[in-house]
């Protein structure tokens, strides 16, 4: 995108709200961190079932935990968007931020793959090669998202 777009984004009133108060940014960061814990905790239980660490029919539990993970992700999407609007130039051309977005996109596709063709597996006590693959990939991708997120500061221009 052109520098004009970033300049326009960086000039919105949201930027002033996020950056000018000494309290808003630290509060948003605290919410972002707490919410990523909820996301990781929920996904761990689901992914460990797909990997086969435990094998039992648990479809309602998995559905609840996925809803919890999606809610936590939504909170992080909103707080993340506010970071971007508040300090746009910290994120533009930042390799760690770009990689984080790519990993989130792949994790989203991985979750869609589960929803389309693997969600039946948690109604039984089975695991399959695909479910092990999806579970492992999910854990690796989300750990990578956290690592890249933490690296953004070190790659900021």
């Amino acid at each position: 995108m052109s520098p004009d777009v970033w300049a326009w984004i960086a000039s919105t009133p949201v930027r002033t709200w996020v950056v000018d108060s000494p309290y808003v940014w630290p509060t948003l960061e605290s919410i972002h961190f707490a919410s990523l814990c909820v996301l990781m905790g929920s996904l761990l239980v689901v992914d460990l079932r797909l990997i086969g660490l435990y094998r039992q029919p648990c479809a309602p539990t998995v559905r609840f935990l996925i809803r919890l993970a999606v809610a936590a992700f939504a909170v992080n999407l909103v707080t993340g968007l506010l970071f971007f609007l508040g300090n746009t130039y910290k994120y533009v051309d930042n390799a760690a931020f770009e990689l984080k977005l790519v990993l989130i996109a792949i994790a989203g596709l991985n979750a869609l793959l589960y929803k389309r063709s693997l969600s039946h597996i948690v109604e039984s006590d089975e695991v399959s090669l695909s479910s092990i693959g999806v579970g492992c990939l999910s854990l690796l991708l989300w750990s990578g998202v956290i690592v890249c997120g933490r690296m953004i500061t070190f790659y900021a221009p």
Binding site: P22, P26, E29, S30, F33, A34, L36, C37, V38, L39, M40, G41, S42, L44, V45, L48, L53, Y54, Q56, C58, P60, T61, F64, L65, S143, I146, V147, G149, R150, M151, F154
Partner: protein
């Protein structure tokens, strides 16, 4: 205090402070460990208090063990981060509050792990008394408070200015 200064002067501490592989890697691993231990402690607290169903006693014990490994990762990475700036950390009030919260949370985590260990490998039922249920909620709260306190170290101390 002089011991902390001595630690800061070691070659390991200096490498951790200046290397791009040192400090950022430690802090990134610290974040992953945080997500594991805090996230799973919350799920276990929700399970013990009836807000999540379908996780049996065997699985609760395993989740607590994984959470404990997340804590070990964070203990080690936290210790490595600490030796780089020990004298500054120890002088920061918000860091000491975080440590207090982590100690309380970790004691409850390891206590719950012992308390909720299945009596034999065939038993799947979850047997949790009132104390375990209440303490799991205390730990979930103190873990999240520790996360917030940890983040606030960047703002309420002079460590990263």
């Amino acid at each position: 205090m002089s011991m902390l200064a001595d630690l800061e002067a070691t070659a390991l501490s200096e490498w951790l402070s200046i290397s791009m592989l040192g400090f950022p890697t430690l802090i990134a691993l610290h974040s992953v460990g945080m997500a594991v231990v805090v996230g799973l402690s919350l799920i276990v607290a929700l399970r013990l208090n009836g807000l999540v169903a379908g996780i049996d006693g065997q699985l609760v014990a395993r989740l607590l063990t994984i959470a404990a490994w997340g804590f070990v990762l964070n203990f080690l990475t936290g210790l490595a981060l600490f030796i780089t700036r020990g004298t500054d950390y120890i002088a920061s009030g918000i860091f000491l509050i975080k440590m207090l919260l982590v100690i309380v949370s970790a004691i409850i985590l390891f206590w719950l792990r012992e308390r909720l260990k299945p009596v034999d490998s065939t038993s799947r039922a979850l047997v949790a008394d009132r104390l375990s249920k209440n303490l799991s909620l205390v730990a979930a709260t103190t873990w999240f408070a520790a996360v917030v306190a940890g983040r606030l170290i960047a703002y309420l101390s002079d460590l990263y200015r």
